[in-house]
């Protein structure tokens, strides 16, 4: 999402800090646990941050354990490649995983939008 949109959302919804940028290795991922689900937060080679549900649309593999490349992650169970931006499976595979709005504050805090965390209605 663009910075502008993020700022808009920040005004209308709550954002909570889940860690520092430095907590995640480049091309790596950390898990954030909530009551409903596990979220995988990724850091790309250019320090962009993405958050998607830690559950591959194929067989629910933990995407946080996959190899990160460009803006994608390859699932560790059966090598599906999932876009971190859209949550959609790439190539011939079909399926999508939920994405969450996330941004990095000036002080390096990683913030997730709480509006997205609510259980799916």
């Amino acid at each position: 999402m663009s910075e502008g949109a993020a700022a808009m959302n920040a005004m209308s919804e709550n954002w909570i800090a889940v860690g520092k940028l430095g907590d995640i290795p480049r091309l790596g991922s950390r898990r954030v646990l909530s009551r409903e689900r596990t979220i995988a937060v990724f850091r790309t080679v250019n320090d962009e941050i993405y958050a998607i549900e830690d559950k591959c649309p194929h067989k629910e593999g933990p995407l946080s354990q996959g190899i990160v490349h460009d803006r994608c992650v390859t699932c560790p169970l059966h090598n599906w490649v999932i876009s971190l931006e859209t949550g959609e499976a790439q190539g011939a595979d079909e399926g999508a995983v939920k994405t969450f709005r996330v941004r990095v504050a000036d002080n390096g805090d990683i913030l997730i939008c709480t509006g997205d965390l609510a259980p799916a209605s």
Partner: protein, 819 residues
């Protein structure tokens, strides 16, 4: 309207092809039931010889798998031999009493091998060569080595002889006639063939008339074959391959007209109008058939006949033959006997082992014999079938299509000029038109895809060049047969190129490689990054900083991920030995962390499954206190060295196999390799540690240590190759480490030792490791150097806090606030 019922007796290649054609034209015309006397699906009988020689597996020669029958709605009754046909009631009955009624019946009972009724022909140990059961029996006999006598020097006999020789038997061929394959070859080519086979160590006796097969003294099998002149040739196995005769018994019993075979007209109709027959069981105009091309032609006729379509019927035409013995190229077609009005063009180059002979009549080619260079066989055969007038190109005719007519030296033009119905693949009867339309309609760009869709060049493979030329013609620049297979979509370079360039350009980090080798993606992908990480670890052991983000999760977490996202943990048990203290520690860990499953692995280790990732460091800390280190069950690296108890306990043990296994494992653990490496040490040739299907194995013998390599027992099953025999444990360890280092430096990532060794050649491995002491020492030294940096227990590092971020969640959040 109810569908008509078609019953097929026999499930060989001919009826298989007939049904394929039938379904292609009218998938719903018939309810089909097949009775197959053999307990299996339809397979490519032509390819039995490669199976015997170990070049193919049965699965690779299956034409129609179970799925095909299901998809086509065919009822296939395996192991059901039909014993009678009731033509009045229009039913058939199997020996197990299954009855099926038919509107149309197709008999395809094939042929029976001819057994020469000499005394002893029915002894155990006397086999024929006809189906998979015969091959299985021969392979079983070949396992214990010994001597084989093959009676019959025709196509099948020679293929059997070459296969058995390949399997390690001492083979003698007995042939009644003065030259080999006299029905397909002239005397000159027969002699060349004989010389080639003798050079491979096959003994050949011509004009040998078998008198008797002699039984072994204990009656368990055969002992020798005696010829008419009194010569005795020792034998543990006798294979009769003297020919086949049509199997027409069933039809004959039912009152259908038969001669040598079931009599059919050119529409494959028998004397009963509702019964068709095809294949090796039929006789047409006095001829019987044993080669695949005419049988496939019959199949096309049968399919049209079943659909009441007009057709020209079957016509007897010239036949082509190929010998399927790897390294012996032989091709013959048509009629090549001498005769009035016949002329011949001969090219003979004895030094190169090339012989070509064309027989001409009225300026047309009627016969072809090629030996040594058979590439032009298909083209010559086409000229025979087309009855081309060769007057214009006679001067250069023997040099084949490249020089024929005005299109000198352009093989593509010759292929382009072939008519659509020109046969490209003789084994599977695939013509040019079918291949071209498959390529264009299905957008096929790879040879394997064309094979999968058309079967062209999928059997013996000798027409591969032609198929590639067709692909090139059809696809233009989009097809490049010499294209190297790139590592992945991020680069056009192959694994070999990348490994070479990393060394030459001294590239020492992944970003450097991506930049210097002009990767197309910014940071690689999940295929190339782990490969690059390994290559750098291997090539610069002291300088490269391992990039954990480029490792697969198992190697990053030092445990094996399971389907539910939990992990399994396998501690190292050196050589598969453990103790009460270790077992007690494992039991305590299992209880403390509530580990749901404990399992003994195939590599003699204990696997604890279902551990939460967060618990891993604590589990390792407890295991570490008991002295355990990582078992690397997750690694592309040294996994396990399996052992038997050897001289410590076993009454058969010849050496301390457990001790050697422990030494090897303590010396080699921690080393990263292109793919996993599993080893074993057996204390005697009884081989209880199963060392002969491992990546590297040792079989102890009285005189020392026999080192084996390149075995497999996973996706592929393959016995090991012998590297050589050494006298001491120290030598064994040096040879094994050198071998593994050679593989570490040359293997492609994820390529197991058996694939690497096959790619570079087993003899090359032996030459560098066994024969070249200097090379071996250099490999060994490089291995020892790299181990200095590799032998750090990853579990104790992580139990003391390394890579904490890997194991802990970053945060837990409620809906209201961050914690």
């Amino acid at each position: 309207m109810t569908k008509k019922k078609l019953v097929v007796v026999g499930n060989g290649m001919a009826p298989g092809r007939a049904l394929e054609e039938l379904f292609e034209q009218a998938p719903y015309a018939y309810d089909v039931t097949i009775f197959n006397a053999e307990p299996r699906v339809n397979y490519d009988r032509i390819m039995l010889s490669p199976v015997l020689a170990g070049e193919k597996t049965f699965d690779e020669i299956v034409i129609h798998g179970d799925r095909w029958y299901e998809d086509c709605g065919v009822r296939l009754l395996k192991g059901q031999k039909v014993v009678s046909i009731d033509r009045a009631k229009k039913t058939v009955t199997s020996e197990h009493g299954v009855v099926a009624d038919y509107d149309k019946l197709l008999i395809a009972t094939g042929s029976l091998p001819i057994v020469i009724p000499v005394p002893g022909h029915d002894l155990p140990g006397v086999l024929t060569y006809r189906d998979l059961d015969d091959v299985t029996a021969m392979l079983l006999a070949a396992q214990s080595g010994g001597r084989a006598v093959v009676i019959g020097g025709g196509l099948l006999g020679l293929e059997a002889a070459a296969g058995l020789k390949e399997r390690g038997m001492d083979v003698t061929v007995l042939h009644l006639m003065p030259t080999l394959m006299e029905r397909q070859l002239d005397a000159a080519a027969g002699h060349l063939l004989r010389r080639a086979l003798e050079n491979r160590g096959v003994n050949i006796i011509t004009e040998a008339n078998t008198k008797e097969i002699l039984a072994a003294a204990d009656g368990s099998g055969v002992r020798a074959v005696r010829l008419e002149d009194g010569t005795e040739i020792e034998a543990d196995l006798v294979v009769m391959a003297v020919g086949i005769r049509p199997n027409a018994q069933l039809a004959n019993d039912a009152g259908i007209e038969t001669g040598r075979g079931i009599l059919v007209d050119r529409h494959m109709r028998t004397s009963d109008r509702d019964i068709l027959a095809l294949g090796e069981c039929v006789e047409f105009e006095g001829q019987v058939y044993g080669l695949v091309a005419p049988l496939y032609q019959m199949a096309g006729v049968v399919a049209r006949e079943l659909l009441d379509e007009d057709n020209d019927g079957f016509s007897d035409s010239a036949l082509a033959t190929k010998l399927k013995v790897t390294g012996v190229d032989l091709y013959s077609a048509g009629d090549f006997s001498d005769g009035e009005g016949r002329e011949e063009i001969v090219l003979r180059d004895a030094a190169q082992g090339v012989y070509k002979r064309l027989v001409l009549e009225d300026n047309r080619i009627v016969g072809v014999v090629l030996y040594g260079d058979t590439a032009d066989g298909g083209w010559f055969f086409q000229q025979v079938k087309d009855q081309t007038d060769v007057t214009e190109m006679r001067d250069t005719l023997i040099f084949g299509p490249a020089y024929a007519g005005g299109d000198a030296l352009d093989p593509m033009a010759a292929v382009a000029a072939l008519p659509d119905d020109a046969e490209i693949c003789g084994c599977n009867g695939v013509c040019k038109g079918r291949i071209v339309s498959a390529i264009t309609e299905k957008n096929l760009t790879a040879l394997d895809d064309v094979r999968a869709h058309t079967k062209a060049s999928a059997s013996c493979g000798t027409c591969t060049g032609l198929v590639e030329q067709l692909m090139s013609l059809t696809l233009g620049d989009a097809f490049n047969p010499n294209a190297v297979k790139p590592m992945c979509g991020c680069t056009d370079l192959s694994h070999d190129d990348v490994r070479r360039l990393i060394k030459v350009k001294k590239l020492k980090t992944i970003p450097e490689v991506l930049h210097a080798l002009e990767w197309k993606t910014s940071c690689g992908c999940a295929k190339c990054r782990p490969a690059l990480n390994y290559y750098l670890v291997c090539d610069w052991p002291d300088e490269y900083a391992d990039d954990y983000q480029s490792r697969f999760i198992n190697e990053r977490a030092h445990a094996n991920i399971q389907k539910d996202g939990t992990y399994s943990v396998v501690p190292r048990m050196w050589g598969g030995q453990t103790s009460s203290k270790e077992l007690r520690a494992i039991a305590d860990v299992v209880d403390k962390f509530d580990i749901p499953t404990v399992k003994v692995t195939g590599g003699q280790r204990i696997d604890m499954l279902g551990i939460k990732k967060e618990d891993l460091p604590a589990v390792w800390a407890d295991l570490g206190e008991a002295g355990f280190v990582s078992g690397h069950a997750y690694a592309k690296g040294l996994r396990t060295v399996k052992t038997c108890v050897g001289t410590d306990w076993c009454r058969f043990g010849t050496q301390d196999s457990t001790g050697l296994g422990v030494k090897i494992e303590k010396f080699m653990w921690g080393s990263w390799t292109p793919a996993k490496v599993k080893m074993a040490v057996s204390g005697c040739p009884r081989n209880c540690a199963e060392a002969t299907c491992k990546d590297v194995g040792v079989v102890c013998v009285d005189s020392g240590y026999e080192i084996h390599f390149a075995g497999a027992a996973g996706l592929d099953i393959k016995g090991t190759e012998v590297l050589g025999l050494v006298k001491t444990e120290e030598e064994a360890i040096e040879h094994i480490a050198a071998l593994v280092q050679m593989y570490r430096e040359q293997g492609h990532y994820l390529e197991r030792i058996y694939k690497w060794a096959k790619r570079i050649g087993y003899d090359e491995v032996r030459r560098q490791i066994m024969d070249d002491g200097e090379k071996r020492k250099a490999y060994y030294d490089r291995f020892v150097f790299s181990q200095k940096f590799a032998q750090v227990d990853p579990w104790s590092e992580r139990a003391s806090g390394k890579d904490k971020h890997e194991f802990r969640p970053m945060a837990s959040v409620g809906l209201q606030a961050a914690e």
